[in-house]
């Protein structure tokens, strides 16, 4: 699925099919798991950012980048990678903005997964 720009795909259906073998039930289950887990991890990420626990920001963003990539949510994966890199470099400037971008990308991925 395209997000209307030349940027990364909101949902790379080929990657999702590769991971699931195109099994519709498995796609649904995987999408539900991804969304539920990502929502919980985003809560943790926001809390870690508020309390300046930058190592935790790095670790959680790394996990979200991986899980997003696994379901083909390429745009969200790249946005979480930007958060992860800032966390790894202990770079707090622009971190909140990077997280906001990642959250928006995740919302688009969630909508795309729901429409499958």
């Amino acid at each position: 699925m395209d997000n209307g720009t030349t940027g990364p795909a909101v949902l790379d259906r080929a990657q999702l099919d590769e991971a699931t073998g195109g099994d519709a039930d498995l796609i649904r289950e995987l999408a539900e798991l991804y969304v539920l887990d990502a929502e919980a991890q985003l809560e943790v990420l926001r809390g870690a950012l508020e309390q300046d626990r930058i190592d935790e920001v790095h670790r959680v963003a790394h996990g979200l980048k991986g899980s997003s990539a696994s379901v083909g949510a390429t745009e969200a994966a790249e946005a979480f990678l930007a958060v992860e890199v800032k966390g790894r470099l202990q770079e707090t400037e622009g971190l909140a903005e990077a997280l906001a971008v990642a959250e928006q990308a995740f919302e688009r991925a969630r909508a795309a997964l729901a429409s499958i």
Partner: protein, 208 residues
Amino acid sequence: MRILVADDDPGTRLVLSTQLTDFGHEVEVAEDGQAAWESFQRQPFDALVLDWMMPRMDGPDLARLVRADDDRPFCFILMLTSRRTTEDLVEGIAAGADDFMTKPFDKDELRARLHAAERVIALERRLARKVDDLEQALSEVKTLRGLLPICMYCHSIRDDRDIWERIEEYIAQHSEANFTHSICPGCYEERVKPMLSELKKDAEKKAI
């Protein structure tokens, strides 16, 4: 193979569990490195598929623990991670991983790498059995090492129980060797020939 998957992402656990089962493997999943280590200690696995960053214990730390545990048969470790730099690969291999794949992964590549893993596992375990056999053989040879008191006249040997034994009995008891009687050329000339000559003379006398 019996495969243990450790990944804190439930989606990756679901996908790996489904794919590995489809490949014909028996799969167990753990949600972090610590849970995987506890599972590994309870039961044997042929291969571990480990994520890198996990809460409580990460993949490299788990690999180091598994490699330090000499009591179990060889277990193949595949690191499956979104970390992809050369430094990451070097660090993962140094921690004890045998192979390294990056996420998101290709199903066919995973299947191919696990085929290769099966060959490595078979080879490592055959090698371990050979080493065991060699060590066993060496331990048997060791029983014949050391200073043995031997009688300078009859060549009997005094054993650990202070009993003097014939040398062939002693060797037979302390090694895999067995003896069969024979006559060396020197003894044939020195002992057997005169004996045969005496017997011949006795026979001639009796004939007269």
